[in-house]
Symmetry: C2
Subunit: 399 residues, 2 copies
């Protein structure tokens, strides 16, 4: 595994006056009539995606209700969201390459660009000034000003890019599906600098960064194991860890690849969804060795720790996607088995952990549960909900 | 160390119509004329205390300027702040027993009560509905509605109370200076329940809770060692840990007791200010055994980890309170030595760690530094600044 540092000649800097081929759309048609708006804090809001309708819902998690819907967001079939540092603006990454900036307070789109042909996710820089998007088509990463979606940089790399995250030091880290590489784009430098790591393993398909922003880990579709980069020690290069992590020799059927960003880290252990197996793997985060497994009822998709690390919540791929299992993170004993309905796609904890919000696609519902009693507290109606994103993510590394 | 569970007969429930002897003050005189206000997010704001003037400053950390001052807060010589879950309201705990609710957006006091004679700090419940205050005089803890400061509960305990924190499960935990006890008040129950732990060690003077809300640890003024309560396992009672932590047999002169809430936890290690010694102690958070020490230039007061855990920042008691030392959390090597001026009282990191805001009392300045380059980025004028509190604390356990 080789490492090479290349100054930003690899990237193409684009000035504010030199927009990409995909210019901002005219937004006028997409703005909503402004409702009566009043001052309010933005710390207790969430934005949920209604994937079938190309819209998002803004949820007041204190009032426990949907306070607005914002349409006009295009194909949201695999969409995700990051937030500005003031927790006022949401950046929505659509599957169709659309990048949309929503004003949560004014409940409308402020800017929207079709920045690529097929987008898979994005990130916001540590200081909040830059939003990056990774693309399947045409590949590469594009970087925009968070103020107005002016394109700031284009980083072509001849590959689909996946697993794009922000890291401390105004960096973005991402993986190259077609080229088996991990790249770091360092925007603390001007012009920005790219550091490449080659031969990291076949077909990285997704990645995560640990909550402290230190370890970047990419899952490999083409072989077992994970590619791990210690961002505190780039000189050590990319290591292979978890040699048994993957589909294995038999190439297990996988109904839905696990979401790596959902990994749970609690009390020095990481809980990760096995690929194709009905198991959650447990790792020691000091050694990154496997130290145990939890049998679960299906192929896990998201494995999430409650913010205090006391519980591990798991949802599943088809045909088990009507279930949620909850485990004690210490004893590994099952605590609860919920069956909200078909299409449990996402679980988002309130930042201090007293509640969890769950999207139930086929019932067109978002359910809020008390995480101590497991009682249903709230049920909201939203067509085909998928991702739910709390504004508190604005303050977290890698989210 | 005995444990005793007592139902809330120990506490006195006070209905909304039965306010404490200290009724709300008339606030009219303290309200400011409302400036022209517009919609804005509240995620990037901070509130800083100007201790000599009984006022606070509201800082826009994106614009890097003070946008408002709110006077009329009484004696702020040892004041602290917590935030509502929507990050709109700040609750200021004054030394004189004043509890004040400030609307950060409207930049004014909404409610103020003198709830005790001499107050030492407070906390906000997990769900944001309750604000608790610990008192030297008359002792005990009082609990208020965060919506309007209506008193909800009075918990007399015949002792000064210290080290009050919130914990998961709608609990408050605090220590009894005069009675050598730790109490848990569980407000998930109605009426609330008190759990007492007796004989925990002589004269607990302050306490902390680990960032995941699991371990409550009280420093002891009357003897060495710390009292540790595992909130996941109350049945195990209070343990004594760190037998060498304290002033020691020789009773070292201590110019200012370290602030325990400033403990830094990074990569499985805790960095804590030694009492009376020019050292930072390093503990393994799995075993709570000491694993090393860092020599520093004075008696440490706050020992803070940058949010990514990569750096440890230390300030000092008189006569060394013009200094800040920064260490690499991994190698323990010194990275930087700053000398902002006399009276470095507090350091607050931006939530994703790119900046730190430092109050310099005797220069009447608040300095913002870049945490990578250590360059001064911003200097704001504020008379005798002390604590600086970012609204992102709204989303954190124990803050």
């Amino acid at each position: 595994m080789k490492r090479r540092t290349v100054l930003s000649s690899l990237g193409v800097l684009v000035g504010a006056s030199t927009l990409s081929a995909c210019a901002p759309l005219s937004n006028e048609l997409q703005f909503n009539a402004a409702p009566a708006l009043s001052l309010r804090g933005t710390g207790d809001l969430a934005v949920a995606i209604a994937r079938a309708d190309g819209k998002v819902a803004i949820i007041d998690t204190s009032q426990e209700k949907i306070i607005a819907e914002v349409p006009g967001l295009g194909d949201l079939s695999h969409a995700s969201i990051v937030f500005s540092r003031d927790a006022r603006f949401a950046f929505v990454f659509g599957r169709d390459g659309g990048l949309t900036r929503i004003d949560i307070l004014e409940q409308k789109i402020t800017h929207r660009v079709i920045q690529g042909g097929n987008s898979i996710g994005g990130a916001i820089s540590q200081d909040g000034s830059l939003v990056a998007v990774s693309n399947y088509k045409p590949g590469g990463v594009k970087v925009f000003s968070s103020a107005d979606l002016t394109q700031v940089a284009d980083i072509p790399c001849g590959s689909k890019t996946v697993g794009l995250v922000d890291a401390p030091g105004q960096r973005f880290v991402f993986s190259l599906w077609d080229k088996n590489e991990i790249w770091i784009a360092d925007f603390s430098k001007s012009p920005f600098e790219i550091t490449r790591f080659e031969d990291i393993g076949r077909n990285p398909y997704d990645a995560l960064i640990t909550p402290n922003g230190r370890y970047y880990m990419a899952g490999l579709f083409g072989e077992d194991g994970m590619a791990q980069l210690d961002l505190w020690h780039l000189e050590k290069g990319v290591k292979r860890v978890l040699p048994n992590y993957g589909r294995g020799e038999e190439k297990l059927p996988v109904y839905k690849m696990p979401h790596l960003e959902g990994w749970a880290i609690a009390s020095g252990r990481a809980f990760i969804p096995a690929v194709g197996r009905h198991e959650v793997l447990i790792l020691d985060t000091r050694t990154w060795q496997e130290v145990g497994r939890i049998p679960v009822l299906g192929q896990p998709v998201f494995v999430m720790a409650r913010p205090d690390g006391r519980q591990i919540w798991v949802n599943f791929a088809h045909p088990d996607n009507s279930h949620i299992q909850v485990f004690d993170s210490e004893t590994l004993e099952p605590l609860e088995h919920l069956q909200p309905g078909l299409g449990v796609l996402h679980m988002e904890f309130s930042p201090r952990g007293e509640s969890v919000w769950v999207s139930v696609r086929d019932k067109h519902q978002i359910n809020q549960y008390d995480t101590e009693s497991f009682q249903l507290k709230t049920q909201l109606s939203l067509p085909s909900p998928s991702g739910i994103f709390m504004t508190a993510r604005a303050h977290m590394i890698g989210l």
